[in-house]
């Protein structure tokens, strides 16, 4: 199996605190790769480092074999790296389908003269883009919401809208930041199905998730983080029985109960 | 070409007005004579526009109380244009097209006046400007007149006085507002004719609150025998205060832009000894009884001060002169025909106003000479006449 993403010695400090600490791992093509860990383990920071939102303090990240240090998020999007956000980052000032069309941006006609004068087949291209976006919405199960204002949609629908938008960029690797957070069990089941569908369509998926049921069922490979460090990694079976993981989780849960 | 368009526009608008009946004001038995005006009643030049408007209102009322002009009442139509040339343009269009005034008196600042002159000329509207710049009447425009002395005259008057005092090299500190900037240009151009050298040339912004740096620079310039400050508003008062604080040993000259009591109030004791050219209005009571202007000045001053409770300024006087000349011209013309009124304004001769004795001609649409200006000095917190 080829590696889609390789991380080596990745470190990020915030004012002396190491949110991510000398982390290294590899995501294989076609896999569903999960990252778990207690709150504050550095999972979202890791995503932000991979997608160029943060600059690492140390360490290197390779995407498709290419070193991607210093690349901006939009460079990475062009290379086939896309993501969703833990706190929804939906364009609330647009309709649902337009959100997805922004995801298609890098495939579309970006010439400003074409846009201003509506020339160069802009009308046709726009119609096609809209159709493509609507298809993607149907793919994530939002077919009936195409022309709704994003602001009027439910939280669960927006979660899936974000996935549709991320898919629209045509990613090789899709990073999902807590796709099931805040969803009820039946919605979580639908997300589970959706992630499998995405994976089957040939996209490598990496997700950060707290719902252990979902993670254990879906993942080919699981990475466990604690205080920015790798605790362990491996299959669901391996992780489930790792004593350190159990300790970390029990510890944090015990702390949560006390706090 | 221009005229054709305007005429077409006028014809169309008249037709539309008749058809729709949206014209402003109802037609009454004896139509009033409409006097249009646009002034800077608010904004940074309100100290000009405010007394100008009050003066017009007072005297229009007074004329109406005396039976009006040619048996018709006067109606004053006014728009505030703040400090904005664009607003002035729109206001003038409104006066001409919508209010259909018979004559326009107004334009507190030179910028506004310059912006509307093409409109007045195109509409063939007799227009008396209340602004200072010499460019308003030089070269002469057929329909445009003005009442205030020009900044060029102020420079000349000041330089005359400097010559008498043997002052040869001076420093200038000018406001960057329209008035200061324009006068600075005129004085710079005129100085060589009076053998005066400008050795330092500083400026300050209209909203500046401290002119000490500029004055310090002037103070440290060699050979400054006097300081001249063209500007209006509160700026000159701050200049005067700072001038006093820095302990200058040379005299200060101000312009006619500060010719109101407010300046002395603001500048306080620092204004002692400041010299400036101004219309005789400020020293009306101190004029000898045989001065031809005295009666007019005292009458205007007492009327204005009793009606408004404000101290009189020369700015309101300019509006008074404009109104009186227009009324006289209408009476001579026997009506409000614009061409006739214009001709009669141009024939104004020997009119005794607050600004001086006016002799207009086809080549002079101001009609004042240097004798209209008096050189004043501030003594004991009041204006006094220099012989």
């Amino acid at each position: 199996m080829t590696a889609v993403l390789t991380v080596e010695g990745l470190t990020k400090e915030f004012g002396g605190v190491r949110a991510v600490d000398e982390l290294g791992f590899t995501i294989s093509e076609g896999a569903i790769f999960s990252i778990i860990g207690p709150n504050g383990a550095g999972k979202t920071t890791l995503f932000n480092l991979i997608t160029g939102v943060y600059t690492p303090t140390e360490g290197r990240v390779f995407f498709g074999g290419e070193f991607i240090g210093g690349k901006t998020p939009y460079n990475l999007a062009d290379m086939g790296l896309s993501r969703t956000f833990q706190n929804l980052q939906i364009f609330m000032n647009m309709t649902a389908v337009e959100n997805v069309m922004v995801g298609l941006h890098r495939h579309l006609d970006k010439r400003i003269d074409h846009a201003l004068f509506r020339i160069g087949g802009m009308a046709r291209k726009e119609r096609e883009a809209r159709e493509k976006a609507a298809e993607l919405m149907a793919f994530v199960g939002l077919g009936q919401y195409v022309n709704h204002d994003a602001a009027s949609m439910s939280y669960g629908a927006l979660k899936r809208l974000e996935i549709a938008r991320a898919l629209a960029t045509g990613p090789r690797l899709l990073l999902l930041d807590e796709p099931a957070a805040g969803l009820n069990p039946s919605e979580t089941g639908e997300i589970d199905e959706l992630i499998r569908k995405v994976s089957e369509s040939g996209v490598t998926v990496a997700l950060v998730e707290h719902d252990m049921h979902l993670v254990m069922g879906i993942s080919d490979h699981i990475l466990v983080l604690d205080y920015g460090r790798k605790l362990t990694e491996g299959t669901a079976e391996h992780v489930r029985h790792d004593p350190e993981v159990i300790a970390a989780y029990l510890g944090s849960e015990a702390a949560a109960v006390k706090g | 070409m221009i005229r054709k368009w305007v005429k077409k526009g006028l014809a169309a608008s008249v037709a539309a007005t008749v058809a729709l009946g949206i014209s402003y004001g109802n037609a009454v038995a004896a139509d009033p004579i409409k006097i249009g005006t646009f002034l800077s009643v608010t904004g940074p030049a309100s100290f000009l526009g405010d007394p100008e408007l009050k003066t017009l209102q007072i005297y229009v009322d007074e004329l109406n109380a005396g039976g009006g002009v040619l048996g018709r009442k006067l109606e004053l139509v006014h728009y505030d244009v703040q400090h904005d040339a664009k607003k002035a343009q729109t206001a003038v269009k409104r006066l001409i097209e919508d209010d259909k005034v018979d004559v326009i008196i107004g334009g507190s600042t030179s910028g506004q006046t310059m912006a509307v002159i093409p409109l007045m000329e195109a509409a063939e509207m007799p227009f008396i400007s209340l602004a200072g710049a010499v460019a308003i009447v030089e070269p002469v425009k057929k329909w445009t007149f003005k009442t205030p002395h020009t900044d060029k005259m102020a420079c000349a008057k000041i330089f005359e006085d400097m010559n008498k005092q043997g002052i040869k090299s001076i420093a200038m500190i000018s406001g960057t507002g329209g008035f200061g900037k324009s006068m600075r240009g005129q004085c710079t151009a005129l100085a060589p004719a009076y053998n005066i050298k400008i050795v330092a040339d500083e400026t300050y912004g209209p909203k500046d609150t401290d002119m000490t740096p500029q004055l310090t620079k002037i103070k440290n310039t060699d050979g400054v025998q006097a300081v001249l400050n063209p500007g209006f508003g509160q700026g000159p008062a701050i200049v005067t205060k700072n001038f006093g604080q820095l302990g200058f040993k040379v005299p200060m000259y101000q312009s006619h832009g500060v010719a109101s009591k407010k300046y002395i109030d603001l500048a306080g004791s620092a204004s002692e000894g400041v010299r400036l050219p101004a219309a005789a209005l400020l020293v009306a009571n101190k004029l000898p009884d045989n001065d031809p202007q005295k009666a007019v000045l005292v009458s205007y001053m007492s009327t204005y001060e009793s009606k408004t409770k404000d101290a009189v300024s020369t700015f309101g006087g300019h509006a008074y002169d404009g109104l009186q000349m227009v009324v006289a011209a209408m009476q001579r013309a026997g009506g409000t025909d614009k061409a006739k009124v214009r001709d009669e304004i141009e024939k104004t001769s020997g009119y005794i106003g607050t600004g001086g004795i006016v002799h207009m001609s086809a080549t002079d649409h101001l009609g004042l000479d240097l004798s209209a200006f008096k050189m004043l000095e501030i003594r004991n917190g009041d204006w006094s006449l220099i012989k």
């Binding site: 922004v102 | 729709l20 030179s110």
Partner: protein, 327 residues
């Protein structure tokens, strides 16, 4: 082009209004107000792309209007250029200036962006006030009338049609832009900058683009203003004018092209309506600004159009018909 444009309807209505207005307006004063509405609206449409759609405030746009006006005035007056090339070259110069300024300015956010654009506008206005050799200083300067070959473009009747056509073009361009990949990228910048980046949108580049476009709209409107009024003065570039323009945009409606037109219309007419209460003008103006922002922060047009929306089903049908255009 043969395809139905998403907002043809609105554009058609606007065209009809522009076409019949002159026969209703009683005289040239009303025509003058209408022309000034059009000129303001053109600036506001551009500014709305920046503020309403891309979410980047500018408190200095009057500076670009001023540069456009003075550029045309100086090139036609001092150098004897014909008006159209002067207007185009001025717009090009303004575009370049905006391009150079945009990168450092638009890196800033919120209040810092407000301060930077405000400072930029004030510096432009100080330069126009000071360089009297070229600009006539605070009193302004006369401008050559626009010549079109032998024909002198003069008077409200002609200018009305020129400005009316320009306004229609501006609306058309704005609607086109909004409903294109570029326009969506701009709106995405407003919605969530980080999400836009992740979607492959080079946000800095789009901010720069929209800043330049809005500056060009302002410049062209300024050039027309200069020729129409035959006069330019530094007030056209003042801080207060910039505030006025922003007010027009937010009153009419952020992120609504027609809102910009409505806002320009209301706030151009208002001072005329209040002309007899000059002392109150500022109070009323300030009050409108506050009340709009407090009670309908989205502005008139979006708030009202949201009110008129009925059931969601209906909305879908409608937005389908309009192609889900501007929100």
């Amino acid at each position: 082009m043969t395809l139905k444009h998403p907002s043809t309807g609105g554009l058609l209505i606007l065209a009809v209004i522009i076409a019949i207005l002159p026969s209703i307006l009683p005289n040239n004063f009303y025509m003058d107000v209408a022309i000034r509405i059009g000129l303001n609206a053109i600036v506001c449409i551009g500014l709305n792309l920046l503020i309403g759609y891309a979410g980047q405030i500018s408190l200095g746009h009057a500076g670009f209007v001023g540069l456009g006006a003075y550029g045309s005035a100086i090139l036609t007056g001092e150098f004897g250029w014909p008006a159209i090339p002067a207007m185009l070259v001025t717009a090009l110069f303004v575009a370049l200036l905006a391009f150079v300024l945009a990168r450092p300015v638009l890196r800033l956010k919120g209040h810092f962006l407000a301060m930077a654009t405000l400072g930029m506008g004030i510096i432009i206005s100080i330069v126009l006030n000071t360089e009297a050799r070229w600009t006539g200083g605070p009193d302004g300067m006369a401008v050559q009338p626009m010549m079109f070959f032998e024909y002198m473009v003069f008077g409200e009747a002609v200018w009305y049609w020129i400005v009316g056509a320009a306004l229609l073009i501006a609306v058309w361009l704005s609607l086109n832009l909004i409903d294109s990949p570029v326009g969506r990228a701009l709106r995405a910048v407003h919605g969530s900058e980080v999400a836009a980046e992740v979607c492959g949108v080079n946000t800095t580049q789009y901010k720069v683009k929209v800043f330049v476009i809005s500056a060009v709209f302002a410049s062209v409107s300024g050039s027309m203003l200069a020729h129409y009024g035959a006069f330019v003065s530094p007030e056209d570039a003042s801080f207060f004018r910039s505030i006025e323009l922003v007010t027009m945009v937010v009153l009419g409606g952020m992120a609504s092209t027609y809102g910009a037109v409505v806002g320009a219309t209301i706030l151009t007419i208002l001072p005329q309506a209040l002309a007899r209460f000059e002392d109150l003008e500022h109070m009323v103006f300030g009050l409108i600004l506050m009340l709009t922002m407090i009670f309908m922060p989205k502005g008139l047009v979006p708030t009202l159009s949201a009110k008129f929306r009925r059931s969601p089903v209906k909305v879908e049908a409608e937005s389908e018909a309009q192609g889900g255009g501007a929100t």
